[in-house]
């Protein structure tokens, strides 16, 4: 069989084994770990692209790990949501490219291999989480990427990073426990861990109470991972104090795992005839709406650039949940597309901000005045990404928000449409404020005057992401068409 046939297991195996090899291989030459990590993530990307090609050719497909047919073995399943692994691998690849010059400045040289190992293991965990069709396997890979994420946050210098990592770890552990508990309940009810199998057997379960409880525990658990208001409290600290490439990875990719977890949960439970998902979905809508406004307002008053971007993640997660909660075909496909688009945009934002902060040594927005003259390309990329995150058409941020807003109107919720618009406006307000500060105000800080444009490795990653966050908007229709079949099982519930 060709590599593509085993690709589903390989996208997990390659990055994790690659990551495990790094500390052993590069003890003596820490900086060379970069190349190895890059190569293995490029390989992962290549495999995931071959998976997508197969998906387009023959539709969703499964891989039985070890050759054991489900539900006995662990089935890996690739559908159009799983296709997100290509985007996530791509972002990881770019983050690695960016890290080349950034990480040696913030991490002691002997620990550099550890950083790359953690990034690769994180990628492997994310991929596993996305392609698995098994509940316990989902939990295991959730732990893989969570533990590596906690550690990545802690790699930054300074006591805040440690505290933020602990906060993240504590909430993350609680959420993992909830998820595990829910999986236990489902197993006790159905005797299987395979998602599709469990979905079919839940209806026959004797009592609805454990099922409802499992649904609740899964939702809350994934809500923490997704940082949906009011369980987002860990996010601003963690994402603001982590090293910039880590912030990019966390905000763009890791948070999305929680969202995808919720989607998988809703899909699993949507077959359950006697359990109504509507109350849960309206709860998600309202939490999402509050998250949009709260995140935007909180971002508006931030003076720290990275903290502001972290709050913008809270806002965008809110958007995605509004879309999922509405659940109509329009809104849900918008939410699905926004998962991808926001990943690209947020990676561009954090990397560009990281380059500005790294080159100037300043992180307060007011100190960055006039930096656009010194670092035009990085600042331009930040500007483009800010407009994209505000959802200015025709950038990538627009597609999802438009679909979500439209879905709100179609299902007779004009107020939500208002929330979508007001949230976008608030984001635009601080976006314009930052652009104004960078380009149109005279420098205030002496370090700004002496700053120079970021090195080529950083610029390459930033510019590519910023360009994508514009161009993906132009490809809105094809992307919506791509995710539409995958989102259908969710929309049936609405």
């Amino acid at each position: 069989m060709s590599a593509a046939a085993h690709g589903l297991a390989l996208v997990v195996l390659v990055p994790i084994v690659g990551g495990a090899l790094i500390p052993a291989l590069f003890r003596r030459f820490p900086t060379a770990a970069w190349g190895f990590a890059l190569a293995s993530s490029a390989l992962t990307l290549a495999i995931s692209i071959s998976l997508i090609r197969r998906l387009l050719a023959e539709g969703p497909f499964s891989y039985a790990a070890g050759g054991w047919p489900p539900p006995y073995g662990v089935a890996l399943h690739f559908d159009r949501f799983g296709a997100a692994i290509a985007v996530f691998s791509m972002i990881t690849l770019l983050v690695l490219i960016f890290s080349r010059r950034y990480i040696p400045a913030v991490v002691p040289i002997a620990r550099i291999p550890l950083y790359y190992a953690l990034v690769m293991i994180n990628l492997g965990g994310m991929n596993g989480f996305l392609v698995t069709g098994d509940l316990f396997n989902l939990f295991v890979f959730m732990e893989v990427f969570s533990v590596s994420a906690y550690a990545l946050v802690a790699m930054a210098r300074g006591p805040q990073a440690g505290l933020a990592a602990i906060k993240y770890l504590l909430l993350g552990a609680v959420s993992s426990l909830l998820v595990l508990f829910a999986i236990g309940l489902i197993f006790a009810q159905t005797g299987t861990l395979n998602m599709a199998d469990a979905a079919g057997r839940l209806d026959a379960a004797a009592s609805i109470v454990p099922t409802a409880l499992a649904l609740g525990a899964l939702t809350i658990g994934f809500m923490v991972k997704a940082a949906l208001f009011p369980l987002h409290v860990w996010l601003p600290d963690a994402h603001a104090s982590a090293p910039a490439p880590v912030s990019a990875l966390l905000s763009a990719v890791v948070v999305k795992a929680g969202v995808i977890g919720i989607i998988r949960t809703l899909q699993t439970f949507s077959d359950h005839g006697s359990l109504q998902l509507m109350p849960l979905q309206s709860l998600l809508i309202w939490l999402g709406a509050i998250a949009v406004l709260w995140g935007a307002v909180a971002a508006l008053v931030q003076s720290d650039l990275k903290r502001l971007l972290a709050y913008s993640t809270v806002t965008n997660i809110g958007y995605i949940f509004i879309g999922l909660g509405i659940g109509s075909a329009t809104a849900a496909s918008g939410a699905a597309v926004h998962i991808i688009n926001h990943a690209v945009i947020k990676a561009a934002l954090f990397l560009a901000a990281g380059a500005l902060i790294h080159q100037s040594g300043l992180r307060h927005i007011d100190d960055l005045r006039g930096l656009g003259e010194r670092m035009p390309l990085s600042a331009l990329a930040l500007g483009v990404a800010l407009l994209a995150v505000a959802g200015v058409p025709p950038t990538a941020g627009f597609v999802g928000k438009w679909q979500i807003g439209l879905g709100a109107l179609e299902t007779g919720r004009p107020l939500l449409m208002g929330v979508v618009i007001v949230g976008g406006l608030l984001v635009l307000t601080y976006g314009v404020r930052i652009i104004n500060t960078l380009f149109f105000r005279p420098p205030l800080h002496v370090r700004v005057v002496t700053s120079r444009e970021a090195p080529p490795s950083m610029l390459a990653a930033i510019l590519l992401l910023a360009a994508s966050s514009f161009l993906l908007g132009l490809a809105g229709k094809p992307m919506l068409d791509f995710v539409a079949p995958a989102i259908l099982p969710l929309t049936d519930t609405g």
């Binding site: 790990a65 070890g66 662990v74 893989v144 550690a151 006790a188 005797g191």
Partner: protein, 240 residues
């Protein structure tokens, strides 16, 4: 007030948990779904197909090998995490007055305890290896054996009276990182052998002899890797 809130929260959570458990199918009865669906299949085919007398091992290493792969990765990642985080805090940032610097303070150990520990160490190590190697037939396996081995090594480090030494002594540093990564790496190797022997990633060979050999290799990898990780955690915490 906060205490009261916490109590209410815990009470509510407890009530919910109890409600769930009470409504679950009766455990232990033969007709509960847990026993009739997938588990029944394991019991029926486990011995033949799983290749291990111990069904737990069969499930861990065969049916759900990819889960086990994830688990050993988590363990390995935990060590990397601690190494990455502790080194950065630095020894100067400690606070408090009761700190004991384990590197320089010699723990006052009774000679009797020290002697007994050193006397027992070879036996514990043998037991650990036994648990690892016979894991596919008897209760036990790589995880358990590895933890026992790790506990023994930590005990030795604590009581051998050589607490002032750094960790460069037991293993050459070049080898250490390989052994710590043994868990994920043996599964990487399993991926390849599975592909070669049976055409599936994460599958064991069909031939009984090779199957047993691969299983033992996996158990050893999990066990020794796990032990190395635990010792590494201990050292990182002690020195970081």
């Amino acid at each position: 007030m906060r205490k009261f809130l916490a109590l209410v929260l815990i009470a509510a959570l407890g009530a919910v948990l109890i409600a769930a458990v009470v409504n679950l199918p009766e455990p232990g009865t033969t007709d509960s779904p847990v026993h009739t669906h997938v588990s029944a299949g394991y019991i029926k085919g486990g011995h033949e197909a799983g290749g291990a007398d111990n069904l737990v091992t069969a499930v861990l290493l065969n049916y759900r090998a990819i889960d086990t792969f994830g688990e050993v990765t988590v363990i390995f990642t935990a060590l990397i995490a601690v190494l990455a985080a502790t080194s950065l805090a630095g020894p100067t940032e400690r606070s408090g007055t009761q700190n004991i610097d384990l590197k320089t303070t010699r723990v006052p150990v009774s000679p009797v305890v020290s002697f007994v520990v050193r006397l027992m160490a070879p036996f514990i190590a043998t037991f650990a290896l036994f648990v690892m190697l016979k894991g596919h037939e008897l209760p036990g396996g790589g995880f358990q054996g590895g933890v026992v081995l790790g506990a023994m090594l930590i005990l030795l480090a604590l009581f051998s009276g050589r607490t002032d030494k750094t960790d460069d002594e037991e293993l050459p540093p070049g080898l250490r990182n390989w052994i710590r990564a043994a868990g994920p790496l043996v599964f990487g190797a399993l991926g390849l052998t599975g592909l070669v022997f049976s055409g599936w990633l994460f599958s064991l060979p069909d031939h009984p002899f090779w199957r047993e050999m691969v299983m033992i290799g996996l158990e050893l990898g999990i066990g020794i890797g796990g032990a190395a990780v635990l010792v590494g955690l201990f050292r990182a915490l002690r020195e970081g």
